[in-house]
């Protein structure tokens, strides 16, 4: 398998580094003679102006910025033929190579892929024209799609080679950001070309107005989208800080367990990642971990910080923290998705847990995950009156509790997670407490 990948990589390298360059040179050379006739000079002049204009007329997209060169090239192919497309591409390459510093070989490969696209589309154009059963408008549409597709596939090939990734995956990834705008511009170019063909240069006036209006609308639209994204990020950051502060204040009340919530959140997140949950769910587990003990706010200090054994009544009160926390968050009207984590993290799969005595899969997944990480942290963390258990012993306990106290599958995943981490790092995380906030945060993000 590996061998096969390696061969594929070499073949890609040869195609991209040699094939693209050779194609660039030969297509350029074959167009050279077509630039020489007197009647072509005016066209080249106009397309030079258009190229300069289009090089500096970006159309904004959500994440990318695209110039309209491809539209100009496309119109050149439709109206005059391959030589105008090649000319436009070459002039653009010269402008960009001079203005922006780029690697000459990569520039050459880039022009290679563009010239191959142009050549393919122009060839297909003459073919469709010779068949002559399609309306030019329909054949333009076909060519639009071909242009986009060939361009995409060749660019994808080059990028997949340089980043050493799969070709198809790269193509899909790069097509996501810009396809709709790209096709829109090409379709406009096609229609514009036909208008110019029938009505002369005056047809450019409505086309330019249409283009400017579209780019104006895009600009505003994406400006707002970006602003909105920033706002969402801000809210997310605020939530994160807010929840972290909350966790710190919960832990601060209980002097035996400083940093406990953050560590439970951390282990919980690791398990969630291990079992392949979506990143959204992973975050949920993390925040569930942070808030899981919030109900301890409602437990008297004397019980929470009592040295020595708790009486059965006191223990019952401690058990109430799950329900108290649940009520607090429920009333707050926020973080509803975290409610099961708070209420059910002391449930056991054998039904002997509290507060509801749920059994097996009745316990929500997020709570089952946090039950494991909560128990682990309770065992390994140091307490003022005792040292934490060694990691191996704690894992032994987890293994023993699998199927009774813990979900069997999650427990085994957790053991894998812990065993895959270097011991030094583990110790560092376990010895971390709430006071040393900074490095802890770093460990998370």
């Amino acid at each position: 398998m590996r061998q096969k990948n390696k061969i594929g990589f070499y073949i890609k390298g040869i195609i991209v580094q040699i094939g693209f360059v050779v194609a660039a040179i030969s297509i350029f050379y074959s167009s050279l003679s077509q630039w020489e006739p007197r009647e072509h000079w005016g066209v080249l002049f106009i397309y030079t102006l258009l190229t300069i204009f289009s090089c500096f007329t970006p159309v904004r997209n959500a994440n990318t910025i695209m110039t309209v060169n491809n539209a100009v090239i496309f119109s050149g192919i439709l109206l005059y033929g391959v030589w105008v497309g090649v000319w436009t591409a070459v002039i653009e390459a010269i402008i960009i190579a001079t203005l922006v510093r780029i690697n000459p070989l990569k520039a050459l490969m880039n022009i290679g892929q563009l010239l191959m696209t142009i050549w393919t589309v122009a060839y297909l154009n003459t073919l469709l024209k010779s068949v002559d059963f399609l309306s030019p408008l329909i054949s333009d549409l076909i060519l639009t799609v071909v242009y986009w597709f060939v361009n995409l596939v060749l660019v994808g090939l080059a990028i997949s080679y340089f980043q050493n990734k799969g070709w198809v995956r790269t193509v899909i990834a790069i097509s996501k950001g810009f396809t709709s705008t790209y096709l829109l511009l090409l379709i406009l170019a096609g229609v514009g070309s036909r208008l110019v063909e029938y009505y002369g240069v005056i047809a450019l006036v409505p086309m330019v107005i249409a283009f400017l209006t579209i780019s104006f609308v895009f600009h505003h639209y994406y400006d707002n989208v970006v602003k909105l994204q920033q706002k969402v990020e801000e809210v997310k950051r605020f939530n994160h800080n807010f929840l972290t502060t909350m966790a710190a204040s919960i832990d601060a009340r209980d002097r035996y367990t400083s940093g406990h919530s953050l560590r439970v959140a951390y282990w919980g997140r690791e398990i969630a990642k291990q079992i392949g949950l979506s990143s959204e769910k992973v975050d949920e587990v993390y925040f569930g971990g942070i808030l899981h003990d919030i109900g301890k706010i409602g437990i008297e200090d004397e019980i929470l910080n009592k040295k020595g054994r708790l009486t059965p009544e006191e223990y019952d009160k401690i058990k109430q923290h799950t329900v108290i926390g649940y009520e607090i968050i429920k009333q707050a009207g926020m973080f509803h998705e975290l409610l099961p984590a708070i209420r059910s993290h002391h449930e056991r799969v054998d039904g002997k847990g509290y507060p509801d005595g749920l059994v097996g899969n009745e316990i929500p997944l997020i709570a089952r995950i946090l039950a494991v990480s909560d128990a682990f942290d309770a065992m390994v963390a140091d307490r003022p009156y005792r040292k934490g258990l060694p990691i191996d012993q704690a894992l032994q306990e987890i293994r023993r509790g699998a199927g009774t106290q813990f979900d069997e599958e999650l427990a085994s995943h957790f053991i894998v997670v812990i065993n895959s981490l270097p011991r030094e790092e583990l110790e560092k995380i376990i010895r971390q407490n709430g006071q040393e906030h900074k490095p802890f945060q770093d460990a998370f993000h």
Binding site: E36, F45, L49, F56, L99
Partner: protein, 183 residues
């Protein structure tokens, strides 16, 4: 030579509220002095003038390369490079299209009989004819220009904007940002 373009650029810069603050500093100005010397030589030795002009273009290109930190100079470079290709491949003189040139109010005879030190007549055997002076530009001052001249004019316009303390950045335009370059 580009008097009209330069005046127009100053006018635009003035309207944009620009004022001359300081003259930009160029590197290796002596290269320009050498090119002037070479062009003078070309006038005095018209027979081998082409060689002088070709070398002069090389020096100007070198001057531009040394000063390429500014965008306007890089645009100049594109234009100068395209014009140089035409001049180098045609024996040191810029071919000019007689059909277009006759529209101009100047005496064309000098070019035809080969005594003009800068231009020659475009013929069938001219190399890269599409890069030579073939486009008739009716205003502001009527002249026949090449495709390279478009870039030189654009570069001149940008240079004047920078001179008047109102620079325009094409790279920023391309990236979809405000065109006003950092001063």
């Amino acid at each position: 030579m580009l008097l009209d373009v330069i005046c127009f650029s100053f006018l635009v810069a003035l309207i944009r509220g620009g004022r001359i603050k300081e003259f930009p500093k160029f590197q290796k100005i002596y290269l320009l002095v050498i090119t002037i010397g070479l062009q003078v030589c070309a006038v005095f030795f018209p027979l081998i003038g082409g060689i002088f002009i070709s070398i002069a273009y090389l020096f100007i290109l070198a001057f531009l390369v040394f000063n390429r930190e500014f965008e306007d100079i890089r645009i100049f470079m594109v234009g100068w490079f395209l014009n140089s290709l035409a001049i180098w491949t045609n024996g040191g003189k810029m071919p000019i299209d007689p059909v277009q040139a006759r529209k101009l109010p100047y005496n064309f005879e000098e070019v035809v009989n080969g005594t003009n030190f800068k231009h020659s007549v475009l013929t069938e055997s001219t190399n890269l004819p599409f890069l030579t002076d073939v486009i008739y530009m009716p205003s502001i001052i009527p002249r026949v220009i090449s495709i390279g001249d478009i870039f030189i004019m654009l570069g001149a316009f940008l240079l004047v904007q920078r001179l008047m303390n109102k620079p325009i950045s094409l790279i920023r335009l391309r990236e979809g940002k405000s065109y006003a370059a950092k001063k």
